[in-house]
Every structure is written in structure tokens, then in C-alpha cells.
């Protein structure tokens, strides 16, 4: 799926994480300190980094995760970085995100949580790489593909007919596949768009109508828009 660099000084954790990331389908390079990480960052084409903040000094020179993160940001500004730390002070979190980390996870963590965060982070970072287009996984016939520049959506080989509102709703759902998109988030995007005839207004009732229409258009695609009680909508891949 993705080529990742794992930087973690604790051998036991590095070994375990490495195996689990590989098990999840990623290619993994592992480094035990900042110098090894730099060497790998220079020689490999990577999709993302999982970086521990508490790294040991290299030949007596302190080089913690923050230093590595700054180094990465100078050379590879778009490389997504998820930081791991045993300290969960708010200050640390803020400092990490300010230094350019894309996400943050505190030890000890669930492997499922790490994989989910990593997946979301990689999805976000891929969007520009695909020239503003998105696609879901699945068999070619069921694959949903969006191109933000046209803008056009295809289900398999067939182009979908979508109104502006349906398009922006679908984009939001696909971007956050497997996560809940809040009603207010959709309505806020609609606010910026010209009003559409047909379904009245832009309120919650209108949203129901659009979701219903979109759901029909995605019938038999293996994708389902789930209504999450009081919270919003979630696009999910149905188990085949």
C-alpha cells in the first residue's frame, strides 16, 4: 500500500510495529535513531513517516524526534509524518503539530488506532499527488473515482450524473471514508455554493433528500451512506 519509514528507538516496539505495519500491507524501513532515519529519508522514496519523539542522541549530539521532524520539513515539506510519544502533555502535542507533524499518537496505543490514523493521513496526502482526484478501493467495477478538476465522478467506467450539491456531498464523504461527516460540515460547504432548484432550501431536510438521491445513485456499488443518529453521514464499504 505505502512505503513507510518507522523511527523508534525501543527495539521491542520497533520490531512489533514493523511486523504489524507489514502485515497491514505496507513496505517498511525501520530506523533506531535520527542519523539512520536521515540516511533512509535521503535514499528512499517514502509515502509517510511514523516518528517517535524520544530518540537517543547520535554520537553524543542530541537529536530527538523534533530535530528529525524539522529536518524532514526543510527537505520534504509534503511528506506526511505521524508522531508517537510517551509524553502526552498538551504542550508537546502543540509543539509537535506546530513543527509540522500531520498527526499525533500517545503511547501506549491500539494498533487499530495507529493503522486508521495512518490510513487517513496517507489518504489526505495523496490527494494532491492524484491531481485533485480520489478513488476508493475495491474491484474495478465498483471503484468510485472523483476528479476535482473536471469535476466528474465515475462509478466503475460509468460517469455519474451529479448536481453541484451532490458532488460536494460525495466529495466530503469520500474524503472521510469510514468516518462520520457532520451535517453542519455539509451545510457549511453548501452555503458557499449557489442555491439549487428542486429540493427546497439548504436545511437539514434538504440534506436528507440529497443523501437519499446519492444513496440511490450508489446502489449496487458496494458503497453505502450510513445515517449516523444525530451526528451525520458516513460512507462505508460494504463487506462483499
Amino acid at each position: 500500500m505505502a512505503h513507510l519509514l518507522l523511527v523508534e528507538d525501543d527495539e521491542l516496539l520497533r520490531d512489533g510495529l514493523c511486523a504489524q505495519l507489514m502485515h497491514a500491507g505496507h513496505t517498511v524501513d525501520a530506523a533506531g535513531d535520527g542519523a539512520q532515519a536521515q540516511a533512509l529519508l535521503e535514499s528512499r522514496r517514502l509515502d509517510g513517516v511514523v516518528l517517535d519523539l524520544g530518540l537517543p542522541p547520535v554520537q553524543g549530539v542530541p537529536m530527538d524526534g523534533f530535530a528529525v521532524l524539522r529536518w524532514i520539513r526543510q527537505r520534504l515539506p509534503h511528506l506526511p509524518v505521524l508522531i508517537l510519544t510517551a509524553r502526552d502533555d498538551i504542550d508537546d502535542r502543540v509543539q509537535g503539530l506546530n513543527a509540522g507533524a500531520d498527526d499525533y499518537l500517545t503511547k501506549p496505543f491500539d494498533m487499530a488506532e495507529l493503522l486508521a490514523r495512518l490510513g487517513a493521513m496517507l489518504r489526505r496526502s495523496r490527494m494532491p499527488a492524484f491531481g485533485g482526484s480520489l478513488q476508493t478501493e475495491g474491484t474495478p467495477a465498483h471503484r468510485l473515482r472523483l476528479d476535482a478538476q473536471l469535476p466528474m465522478a465515475w462509478l466503475g467506467d460509468e460517469a455519474m450524473e451529479l448536481t453541484h450539491r451532490e458532488w460536494s456531498l460525495l466529495t466530503l464523504l469520500v474524503k472521510q471514508l469510514g468516518q462520520v461527516v457532520g451535517r453542519e460540515e455539509v451545510l457549511a460547504v453548501w452555503q458557499t455554493q449557489a442555491p439549487e432548484g428542486g429540493a427546497a432550501g439548504g436545511g437539514s431536510n434538504a440534506l436528507e433528500v440529497y443523501v437519499h438521491r446519492l444513496r440511490r445513485k450508489l446502489q449496487d456499488s458496494g458503497l453505502n451512506i450510513r445515517n449516523v443518529r444525530g451526528l451525520g453521514y458516513m460512507l462505508e464499504l460494504q463487506a462483499p
Binding site: D88, R229, G230, L231
Partner: protein
């Protein structure tokens, strides 16, 4: 505490002594100068008086006879005038004034000589004779009859060294006892200050040998009012500190015990796993190891989160309804995976003063708890609403097994667990209660019919 110690070296005793003794010394010096001045004036008056008497007495001895003068100056009178060899009286009789007639020295006339001196009124002035300052009394008289009237001048002078000697004597007689008195007063003051500040020193001695372990109240007997109230305030602080320290200690003991249990389980399970040859049994052991490790991790996370609630909170108005939906959305994938319908009901927006991080933590714990104990197919509902009395209610209702009514009061105690279901550590709801308190709010729990639990956090709206 270092901020309070920046004025180190400042001594109350030294300050008091300084403020009492320096003004006293200044007053004493001023008094000395004043006394010297006053003594000089009185000595001058005394000299003037004796000079006036002398000059009149001498004048009486000079009698005009016809156009001449007869000086009746008996030896005895001369002896009186010239009595003190060191402080000899100088006298001159001249007629007309200025032309020496009789005397033991030729004294100059008063300043502005030539100006007519009034008759029979002694004029007093100072001169310098042979480099010594002298006080002179000068008396002019007319004698003879109208056509042949003549004038004579009688002068008597005395050295001013006498005046200074008198003044010095006076000053000595007055100031020496005063100085002695001052010294005695100083000693008394020093002793008094020491005595007055002794309770402070005793307080210091009592506090100096203390550490975090000895927080018993200070014993102060016979302390003055000010020190007594200081000691009372300190004792109050010590009591609060002792209580919170013993709570911390108990908590730390509990925490260590709670952590020790899953670790012991981990060790025993891994030991067993290492000797296991059969793959199926090995897998079972490892599953237990995994559960135990997860439990330890959860416990550590909860302990840290509890520690965080004890830091200072900054309450700022936030939209708690949006925050609640945000938290619920994050939990949705996990709820769906567990087959639980997690939903939200209530306000779209509700502003309340809160600490975003802590409130998120509280909501996380409430939802985590509900999901943990609910079976598949159950519903968990997060609600946010405002009450009539400007309070904000955040509640999580689940359709889990609930707890016995008798257990409800214990629900928010640390390390108390309603069920032996794995995964929980008995801190989640204690954290929620702590966070509610930090927001000036409260937390309640009640059972739901037919089964389930509602945990309600009530926060003030402003």
C-alpha cells in the same frame, strides 16, 4: 517560594533597632547643639550682668572734683577686680572718652566711636585683645556743671574664654547623663525587641526542621496575637496539605497495586507461554498476554489523564454541543465495529465555559464506558441540553446491564468497579467526576428502565 525570599538579609530585628536608635541619636545630637547654644546665651547673660555690675561699681568710685576726677579705688576693690589671675578683669577709665586716665589696659571704645553714647546706660560689645576675644561693658557719664561739663568713660572687660568654659560645663553636665540614658535605653530596646520577636524565632525553629513528611500542626504557646494568627493560617495550610498528601499517597498505593496485578498476570502468562508446545494452547496464552498488556496500557493512560485533571484549568466559552458531536463522531467507527448504535440528541449549539481538552476527556470516558459494557445491538445516546436554571447537561445513556442501586454512590470512586468485565480499571468515571468538579459542576448517575445506565454531567452555563 523563591520570589518571597528576594529580600533576603532583611531582618525585622535590625529594622526595628535601626528605626528606634537612629532617630534617638539624631535627637540627642540636636539636643546637644541646642543645649550648647542655650548655655552660651545664658553664660553671656551672666557675664554681661557681672560686667554691668562691675562697670557701675567702678564708675561709682570715680568722683568729679571741680574740673578733675578723683578715683577712689581702694586696694580691696582692686583685688576683687583682679582676683583671678587667669581671668583678669581689664578696666579703663578715660576722660574725655578715649584718653586714658586709669586702668590696667587700654580698652578700645565701642564700635562707631565718636557717636555719642547715652548717659548712664552700659553698652556691651566684643573686642579682640591680644588675639583673645573679650566682652566689654562701657559706661559714659557726664560730670561737672553746665559750662564746664565733661564726659568720662568707664570700661570693664572680661575674657570670653570663660563663657565657653561655662557653656561646655553646662553641656557636659546635661548631655553626659542623657548619653548614659540613651545607652541604657538602647540596651533595653534591644532586649525588648528580642523578647518581642522571640515567638517568630520559635516559629522559624519549628518550621525549619520540617519536610513533606512532617506536616503536624505548629504548637505555639504564649505567642502574641499577630504571630498567633500567622501560626493559625500556617496550620490551616498544613492541614490541607496533609489531607491532600495522604490522599495522593493512598491513590499512588492503589495505582501501584492496580498496575502490579496486570503485570503479574503478564509475567505468569508469558512464563506459561514459553513452556507451551501445543500451538492452540500457546495462542490462548498469548491472547491473555495481549489482554493483560492492553489493560495495563489503559490503566496508565487513565492515571495520566487523572493527573492532568489536577493541573490548572482555563475555562473559556466553547460550543459544547459541537464538541460532543465531534467526540461522538470519533467513536462511531468503534461503536459500529462493536455493533452498537451510537447517536447524538439535543442542541445544535450550546456555549458554556469549559476546558476543551478536559471536557473531551470526560466525554471520551463516558462513551468508552458505555460502549465497553453494552452488548451488540444496544443503543448508546449522547445528549447535550440546556436546563432552565442556566446549567448545561451532558449525558450518556446506555442499554447495558446497568448497576445495582446500592452501587450507584460508589460509581465515581477511584478504582471502584461495578463489574469484573475485563478492560476497565475503575478510573473512568472518577476522572469524569474530577473534570466536572474542575468545571464547577457535578456528576450524577441513575439506572434506566428496563436496564442501562445514565451518567449525567451538569456544568454551569456561565
Amino acid at each position: 517560594m523563591t520570589g518571597l525570599n528576594t529580600a533576603a538579609g532583611f531582618s525585622l530585628k535590625r529594622q526595628l533597632l535601626w528605626w528606634l536608635l537612629v532617630p534617638q541619636l539624631v535627637l540627642w545630637l540636636m539636643g546637644g547643639v541646642l543645649a550648647f547654644r542655650v548655655a552660651l546665651i545664658y553664660a553671656e547673660k551672666a557675664i554681661d550682668q557681672s560686667l554691668t555690675q562691675s562697670v557701675r561699681a567702678l564708675a561709682r568710685q570715680v568722683k568729679p572734683i571741680g574740673s578733675g576726677l578723683l578715683v577712689d579705688f581702694p586696694k580691696a576693690a582692686q583685688a576683687v577686680l583682679e582676683q583671678d589671675p587667669k581671668d583678669r578683669l581689664a578696666y579703663t577709665v578715660s576722660s574725655p572718652p578715649g584718653s586714658f586716665l586709669l586702668g590696667n589696659s587700654n580698652l578700645p571704645g565701642p564700635a562707631g566711636a565718636g557717636v555719642l553714647q547715652p548717659d548712664d546706660v552700659p553698652v556691651l560689645y566684643e573686642i579682640s585683645l591680644d588675639g583673645k576675644p573679650m566682652r566689654v561693658a562701657s559706661l559714659e557719664l557726664s560730670f561737672g556743671d553746665a559750662p564746664t561739663e565733661q564726659r568720662m568713660r568707664v570700661q570693664v572687660a572680661k575674657s570670653l574664654a570663660v563663657q565657653e568654659a561655662i557653656a561646655q560645663e553646662l553641656v557636659r553636665d546635661v548631655l553626659f547623663p542623657l548619653l548614659l540614658l540613651g545607652a541604657v535605653l538602647g540596651v533595653l530596646m534591644h532586649a525588648g525587641i528580642r523578647r518581642g520577636l522571640a515567638p517568630l524565632e520559635r516559629l522559624e525553629a519549628q518550621l525549619a526542621n520540617r519536610n513533606a513528611a512532617s506536616l503536624s500542626p505548629i504548637e505555639l504557646t504564649q505567642a502574641p496575637q499577630e504571630v498567633h494568627s500567622l501560626a493559625l493560617a500556617l496550620n490551616q495550610l498544613l492541614t490541607t496539605l496533609r489531607r491532600s498528601m495522604s490522599q495522593e499517597k493512598r491513590f499512588l498505593n492503589d495505582a501501584a497495586h492496580q498496575l502490579r496485578t496486570p503485570l503479574a498476570g503478564l509475567i505468569s502468562q508469558t512464563e506459561l507461554a514459553l513452556t507451551e508446545a501445543e500451538p492452540q494452547a500457546l495462542h490462548e496464552r498469548l491472547t491473555k498476554v495481549h489482554k493483560s498488556a492492553q489493560r495495563s496500557a489503559h490503566l496508565v493512560n487513565q492515571l495520566l489523564s487523572l493527573a492532568r485533571t489536577e493541573a490548572d484549568v482555563a475555562l473559556v466559552p466553547i460550543d459544547v454541543a459541537s464538541l460532543a458531536r465531534e467526540v461522538a463522531r470519533e467513536w462511531t467507527p468503534r461503536a459500529l465495529a462493536a455493533g452498537i448504535d451510537l447517536g447524538f440528541e439535543g442542541e445544535d449549539h450550546l456555549q458554556a465555559p469549559a476546558d476543551r481538552v478536559l471536557l473531551r476527556e470526560a466525554l471520551n470516558n463516558l462513551i468508552d464506558n458505555a460502549l465497553r459494557y453494552c452488548p451488540r445491538g444496544a443503543s448508546v445516546t449522547l445528549r447535550v441540553r440546556a436546563t432552565g436554571d442556566s446549567q448545561c447537561v451532558l449525558e450518556v445513556e446506555d442499554e447495558g446491564p446497568g448497576v445495582q442501586d446500592a452501587d450507584l454512590p460508589h460509581l465515581f470512586e477511584r478504582f471502584w468497579r461495578a463489574s469484573e468485565l475485563p478492560g476497565g480499571c475503575g478510573l473512568g468515571l472518577a476522572i469524569v467526576a474530577e473534570i466536572a468538579q474542575r468545571h464547577g459542576g457535578s456528576v450524577q448517575a441513575h439506572t434506566r428502565a428496563p436496564h442501562g445506565l445514565v451518567v449525567r454531567v451538569v456544568l454551569p452555563l456561565g
